[in-house]
């Protein structure tokens, strides 16, 4: 490997990215978050199916408690990951893979996820 290659370490130009890059990075971050969040979802699934008392316990856990925020965060990650993933599958089939189209679709992914995340919040609270 060429260890003498140029390296960009200017923070402002690293942070400032085009919208496709932001959308793509969020897809990755939400995926990694879901990797861990799945444990909590499995836990809720186990409790809620175990017994009448278990489901009641889940309802109490998620009644506007800090844990409700955790579930909401997991749902937001799930929503974003599915919406961005749909875009990705369309790109695989060469649907909307021009530069202009991906700028629009990247904004669209972020906006649609934002709206769905808000609706998920209304559903939980």
């Amino acid at each position: 490997m060429n260890t003498e290659r140029p390296v960009n370490l200017t923070f402002s130009t690293i942070i400032r990215q085009p919208v496709h890059a932001v959308a793509s990075f969020l897809h990755r971050v939400s995926g990694a978050f879901l990797f861990f969040g799945s444990a909590y979802l499995l836990f809720l699934l186990d409790r809620s199916l175990a017994s009448e008392l278990g489901l009641h316990g889940v309802r109490i856990r998620l009644d506007g408690t800090p844990e409700t925020y955790l579930l909401w965060l997991i749902l937001v990650a799930l929503i974003y990951h599915v919406v961005a993933g749909t875009k990705h599958l369309l790109l695989d089939m060469h649907v909307g893979d021009t530069h202009a189209a991906t700028v629009v679709s990247s904004y669209l992914v972020i906006i649609v996820s934002g709206v769905l995340a808000t609706l998920a919040g209304f559903w939980l609270w």
Binding site: G31, A32, L34, F35, L42, L49, L55, V82
Partner: protein
């Protein structure tokens, strides 16, 4: 599948598992959204129907496959000689072992949750 086609296999598996997980998410969220006053009997009844038990199992396996390909990509992108020097291979193996261990735990716990219903 030959070693040369590992990348293709990962590519296809990631997308097939994505579709399964997407449909499963819609299915579960659809059920929960349409049953706001869900009773435990209804919930268990839904989850222990044979189609749902099979769908849940296939989705659980898909979750493990999908998460593995995704986490593998993240590991090979960031844990490199460029950032970690000579130890990068070892660190990546530790990271990958952690990912596999957690996913196997999900697989075991998940299957026992699903199949204790039947």
């Amino acid at each position: 599948m030959s070693v040369r086609n590992r990348g293709l296999l990962d590519y296809v598996m990631q997308r097939v598992s994505a579709l399964v997980l997407g449909f499963y998410t819609f299915c579960l969220l659809g059920f929960l959204l349409s049953h706001s006053e869900l009773s435990q009997v209804e919930w268990v009844g839904f989850m222990q129907s044979m189609p749902m038990m099979i769908f849940s199992t296939v989705s659980l396996v898909s979750l493990c496959v999908h998460a593995w390909v995704g986490m593998w990509t993240i590991g090979t992108d960031y844990i490199r000689t460029f950032s970690f020097g000579k130890r990068s291979t070892f660190l990546r193996q530790v990271y990958q072992a952690f990912v596999v261990a957690l996913l196997l735990m999900y697989l075991g716990l998940g299957s026992s949750i699903i199949w204790s219903l039947g």
